[in-house]
């Protein structure tokens, strides 16, 4: 366990400043009595309460994540700390008062009244200060969590972009374009248009949250056209979108990583190449999207682990659907008996 002592010292100083305030208020109510005793009581009680609560929580396992013990642990710690702090502080302050004779010459107050008021003050102070630290802790924790989530999302987006704008893909495509410019300018222009659309969609992907299935399929067509020019007769593709589903909204570029997986890990490494089919259909209350290829399929071993690098794309899709639809969304990956890979996405149809 590592305790941040600067942080703890800050807490102690804040607590002592609070104690000073309480003593001053008490003094304000009874200006005829000396200032020193309430100050000593207040400082000692808060010191002990602070050491038990603030240091004690470092030793409670449930406080490891948020900095504050969870549920009744937290409450118990505050009560235990305040009571013990009160008892220890009062005892020590009593000793000091007697030793230094601070109350000498003053009339003794009614013991009961004194006891009641000091317990009340301690309880209120203990709860207020603990709540103050609890709230500060919580907001710091939430802020930390949020930055973390942000960073995670940014990292995921960057990683996806990295796989999509992989230099090998880019330079090979450019090399094809260069070859086409001389041989078939019209085809070159056609390819360039798809390339521009692909780049624009990929680089913009983070901005639009959803778009119609028609747009999704158009973007897939851009990529698949590019790849089919590059791979020539080794590759064929088919996009099956029923017209009644064309306007159904989907998370933007949801299928892109899956189609890229099919090409990069399925068809490209296979000598004979193959075919990619992307389809959308409605199944009762669900929308079912499917990406199928006749490529290499799961690599090497017979279990269902997709080829290296392909896993990231699937995880990304799964995460996006889970955030949007929770348990209502499903992602299934399967090796096809006839070779190749199939990924099926299923999530609620929006009427």
């Amino acid at each position: 366990m590592k305790i941040d002592w600067t942080n703890k010292l800050q807490h102690l100083l804040q607590v002592l400043a609070f104690a000073l305030g309480i003593a001053t208020i008490q003094y304000g109510f009874q200006p005829e009595r000396p200032y020193a005793p309430p100050l000593v009581y207040s400082l000692l009680i808060s010191f002990f309460a602070w050491s038990i609560i603030d240091l004690g929580r470092e030793f409670m396992p449930s406080a490891r994540e948020t900095g504050w013990p969870r549920g009744w642990h937290g409450l118990a710690l505050v009560i235990a700390g305040t009571v013990t702090g009160y008892l220890l502080g009062t005892w020590l302050a009593d000793q000091m008062c007697r030793a230094y004779g601070w109350y000498a010459g003053y009339p003794r107050l009614d013991r009961d009244t004194e006891l009641r008021s000091s317990i009340l003050v301690t309880a209120i102070a203990g709860i207020t200060v603990s709540f103050y630290f609890y709230a500060r802790n919580k907001s710091a924790y939430l802020e930390r969590k949020m930055t973390e989530a942000h960073r995670h999302a940014n990292e995921a987006r960057l990683k996806l972009l990295e796989t999509q704008l992989e230099p090998h893909m880019l330079f090979n495509t450019l090399a094809n374009l260069r070859a086409l410019i001389g041989a078939d300018p019209q085809q070159a222009q056609h390819m360039l248009d798809h390339m521009i659309a692909y780049l624009r969609a990929t680089l913009n992907a983070s901005r639009a949250a959803t778009h119609p299935l028609q747009t999704e399929f158009d973007r897939l067509r851009d990529y698949l056209e590019l790849m089919s020019i590059r791979m020539g007769p080794r590759m064929a593709f088919e996009l099956k979108l029923p017209p009644e589903l064309a306007q159904h909204p989907v998370p933007a570029l949801l299928l892109q990583p899956l189609v890229e997986n099919s090409i990069q890990h399925g068809l490209e490494p296979k000598v004979e190449g193959g075919r990619v089919v992307v389809s959308a259909q409605r199944d009762g209350h669900d929308l079912v999207l499917e990406v199928t290829d006749t490529g290499l399929g799961p690599s090497g071993n017979a279990d269902l682990t997709p080829a290296k690098g392909a896993g990231f794309g699937i995880a990304h899709v799964r995460e996006r659907l889970a955030t949007l639809y929770g348990a209502a969304a499903r992602v299934d990956c399967a090796a096809r008996a006839e070779g190749g890979f199939r990924v099926t996405l299923r999530f609620p149809f929006q009427a």
Partner: protein, 271 residues
């Protein structure tokens, strides 16, 4: 321009048809006397066609289906007949930082895609120089080429795991897992998608491909002697050259001999 123009034959291995055609056109323009005897689209055909056609120059794409251009070249270095000179190798790649770094030694040339005319002329000049220097008889493949192929293979291999060398080989036998101490292994041999693990009295199959196993082995103790064979150095008894000039290892604890490929022959020299 390139003078004197040398007549030679070449094979192109490139999986993208447009790029193969563009490379061919570029070569025709920059080296009219070069006869392109074949264009193939995958690594397996690249090896087969090279052996069948015996061209003087090979243009290999690095990323190809079936087998990478580099693996194809390594296989050719092994299979190439002793009495014929090894072709000049030129790798073609869109982007491969590892490869480009390893190319600095320059026994084998490389061209980046898209291939540009000026760069191509330089490469051609270099290839012609190599071909002109190449001895007409016996000497088959020079050490610089072999060394560079080895470097390239090394550069393409993923770095080994940080936690150090493997100590135990876990093999599934029936429904149990046998633990084989690494010191009992005499050699590993790639077999399809599997690796055969040979101890002095047993033989096991594991599913980890040799390429993934290799970085986990202690390179001081386990020597790769062939693209499909890794031998425990302590177990090597003697090295002999057979009639065809190939090196063979006799191993302690195994009766069969193990072949050493040309790429790794440098490991076995008398002190």
């Amino acid at each position: 321009m390139n003078s004197p123009q040398l007549a030679a034959t070449a094979l192109i291995a490139e999986d993208e048809p447009l790029l193969a055609r563009a490379l061919q056109a570029e070569l025709v323009k920059a080296w009219p006397q070069l006869q392109i005897v074949g264009v193939v689209g995958d690594g397996v055909s690249a090896v087969a066609q090279s052996l069948a056609l015996k061209p003087d120059v090979l243009f290999f794409d690095i990323r190809m289906p079936g087998k990478s251009g580099l693996d194809a070249a390594v296989e050719l270095a092994d299979e190439w007949p002793q009495d014929q000179p090894f072709p000049a190798l030129v790798f073609v790649t869109a982007f491969d930082q590892y490869a480009v770094q390893a190319f600095e030694t320059q026994a084998i040339d490389y061209v980046l895609k898209p291939v540009q005319h000026d760069r191509m002329c330089k490469t051609i000049a270099k290839v012609q120089e190599t071909l002109a220097r190449r001895p007409k008889t016996n000497a088959n493949i020079d050490d610089a080429t072999l060394g560079q192929l080895r470097n390239l293979l090394g550069a393409m291999q993923p770095p080994g795991p940080a936690q150090g060398a493997l100590r135990l080989i876990q093999v599934s036998v029936g429904n149990s897992i046998r633990m084989i101490p690494i010191d009992e292994v005499v050699y590993f041999e790639a077999a399809d998608k599997y690796v055969r693990v040979l101890t002095h009295d047993h033989e096991y199959l594991i599913r980890t491909p040799l390429k993934e196993l290799l970085p986990q082995l202690d390179v001081q103790r386990f020597w790769q002697v062939h693209r499909g064979t890794v031998v425990r150095a302590d177990a090597i008894d003697s090295v002999t050259r057979d009639e065809s000039g190939k090196l063979q290892l006799a191993l302690r604890g195994r009766k069969e001999k193990v072949l050493v490929s040309r790429l790794y022959a440098h490991l076995f020299k008398a002190m």
